[in-house]
Symmetry: C2
Subunit: 423 residues, 2 copies
């Protein structure tokens, strides 16, 4: 038997919803549970599609609150990279489980992840019950001599993810960035991903340095270079894109790649430019929203980042009407990108949805979309359902205490946390 | 008897805390409750000073999610002002009570309010149990002929606030802005506030238009003009200050006035400039943080705005180290302004404090200050205490349901809300 919801509100009407085999079997007025269904009373709650976090490094929850407020390179070379060398599968597993608890609590049902030991990420995702595309970063220090080995590692990682994952964790390829990879490796990813039909994620045009380096070395801007190596495709997520220009945006729109903007991480790392969303929308780009890793955000609450996204764009355009709440919400739920695959709640679609408490003060008055984007944090989410399974009910994620305890152990093991109580 | 806390963490040590007569009688290791005290078990929680919201229009919760994403003047003249004309004491009372529920939930123990029917604000504040400076806006359309009546109204409002308030609501004066008031009224406020020793709050330098208008009309920039009329004083809060220049910042620092920055509202209304905090800090300015009204934010969660403040400043300075989490937290708790009066938790100080759940995933790892500012929303607050009285325990504000229901009634009465369920 499946899961069913009664008496919830959807687009202002009172509806029921019934799940079967991980999909929505029926939703609408008069839809009733079947005998044996697990039934959730949706009184005082609204149905909302699950949020899609388009770019993160989930296991980096372990680094949160460790060495904050430092210049980027000092943070990476002095603090993050030395610890990452010591990390093992179990560190990544429990860091990812901690991230999943937070994402489930705040309404994220699916995420795109790029991190080491991606097989452990896949295992954590399956155990937590959320959906993810998991991929290990591919880096060869732009050295063609290291490319063969790096690509072989990536291929092995794909097999290991497939072995560890199940119905929820899909394997992906994650070439780190154009400045950390040789052209040989980038072309290998393009061929491999096309052949195996698996998604790709890459950091693109995050900093001005990256653009200048690409121009100096290749004579073209980053998106044009990515197109030359065959990676500007409908199955590619481009994370960041802050420094893309109008020609690049049009090229990306033509090729059908998705740009995932990470407004909070961009501010925290002070990249100095806001993603040119107005121009991107005009070009007709597929778009999504990401938190980036907890090391550089430090939150995984995507509703909070949807607000920052909308507000930054209003300010940038000097127009309070530049982005609407509904638009921000559609972006945060993955409905503005075929690749991210979000959709309105309808029969036949995946049973990935939330119940939010419309009697909470933040949502009690006015339009629901404005309430969710501008007034609420992710804690208005009462129930999180992925593939027809309730991962949180009444605001409680089962097993969260154990996950917190194990993540603390792993952080201590890595020397990230004093042995005493936090604070 | 009073309130006491056991086994909480403060600056990494396990401590107790005891309140008497609204103040902290003792805090530190080994401090135990007295017989008859109401005792809160602080296991797994940290003590934090209460947050101080330095600028808001609390009753505007009623406007939230109503007519969002519109240009400023269309929003004000087409939607907000016509409704404000119809508002009465009870509308303001219940709108403010709703704001107080949200502030208590998210850890704000004190706020500075500017709104119509300020006597009703004072009554709501007393009933909710939080602290506030409440003041009615003073506006005379820059018409000296209307000044006498406007000032008489302000004087009467002061008396009515004093009559309605008690120990928690302090009366203040709120000249709206230099562009909406005659010089006569501004000078009257300066004299009256100095004579009666009551605080003043005014919007200053929020938009470029205001600066240009002041230069055209007075030949000086806004802060210099405010100084000429005698309002740049240690008892004055200047809300916004986005367009202040270096000379103005130095003048404000010299006079000891406090600037309250409202980063989220500034972005939402797209004022086009980020408050020049780096220069303000260099000048030695007293500073605080505000949400502004829920109509233009739309949240009252000050921790969330502390994050936006810190991130915007990092980005503006193109330096991730430009503001630290501790600095942002001190600003949000009113500890960087004598007028706002926040202070570290110590014996003899007011018993305004929070217990935050350090076992929540967002605070489970790393430094507490970074966790609070970057990772958490206000919902990590478990307990909110004002003047030695627990207004929230276990995350529950007593009577919140009734407040939500009554606020919905008032919003419907004002035509702000469809009669059916929200969403």
């Amino acid at each position: 038997m499946g899961l069913a919801v009664r008496n919830a509100s959807l687009d202002g009407a009172e509806v029921g919803l019934r799940c079967e085999d991980g999909a929505i079997a029926a939703v609408g007025p008069g839809v009733e549970p079947r005998a044996g269904d697990e039934v959730i009373d949706g009184t005082g709650m609204a149905l909302v599609p699950g949020l899609v976090n388009g770019h993160t490094h989930a296991a980096m929850t372990l680094f949160r609150g460790f060495a904050d407020d430092l210049p980027l390179m000092e943070w990476l070379t002095g603090h993050i990279w030395p610890v990452e060398k010591r990390m093992d599968d179990d560190d990544v597993y429990w860091g990812t489980r901690l991230a999943c608890v937070e994402m489930i609590r705040t309404g994220t049902t699916s995420f795109w992840d790029m991190y080491w030991h991606a097989n452990a990420t896949a295992r954590a995702v399956e155990d937590a019950g959320v959906r993810a595309v998991t991929a290990a970063p591919l880096i060869d220090d732009s050295d063609p001599a290291k490319s063969q080995r790096a690509c072989a590692d990536a291929e092995r990682s794909l097999e290991r993810i497939s072995g560890a994952g199940g119905a929820l964790a899909r394997p992906g390829l994650a070439p780190h960035a154009i400045y950390s990879l040789s052209e040989r490796s980038l072309r290998w990813v393009a061929e491999c991903s096309a052949e195996l039909r698996i998604p790709v994620q890459i950091h693109l045009s995050e900093t001005e340095d990256e653009v200048e380096g690409c121009l100096a070395e290749r004579g073209v801007r980053p998106a044009a270079y990515l197109d030359q190596v065959g990676l500007l495709a409908p199955h590619t997520v481009l994370a960041h894109g802050c420094w893309l220009d109008r020609d690049e945006l049009e090229l990306i729109a033509e090729r059908g790649a998705t740009v995932v903007t990470n407004p909070v991480a961009n501010l925290k790392l002070a990249v100095g430019r806001v993603f040119p969303y107005g121009a991107a929308r005009q070009a007709g780009i597929e778009i999504g929203l990401g938190t980036d890793g907890a090391g550089s955000n430090n939150s995984l609450d995507l509703l909070s980042d949807a607000k920052t996204f909308a507000l930054l764009q209003k300010n940038e355009a000097r127009d309070p009407a530049a982005v609407t709440a509904l638009e921000a919400l559609e972006i945060a739920t993955g409905q503005r990108s075929r690749l991210l695959g979000g959709r309105a709640l309808e029969a036949g679609g995946p049973a990935d949805f939330l119940l939010v408490r419309t009697d909470d003060p933040e949502l009690a008055l006015g339009a629901l979309d404005a309430g969710l984007v501008y007034a609420a944090s992710g804690t208005v989410v009462d129930t999180t359902v992925v593939a027809g399974r309730a991962l949180m009910r009444d605001g409680v994620v089962a097993g969260a205490e154990e996950v917190v305890a194990r993540a603390r152990e792993r952080a201590r093991r890595l020397g990230l946390q004093p042995a005493g109580p936090p604070g």
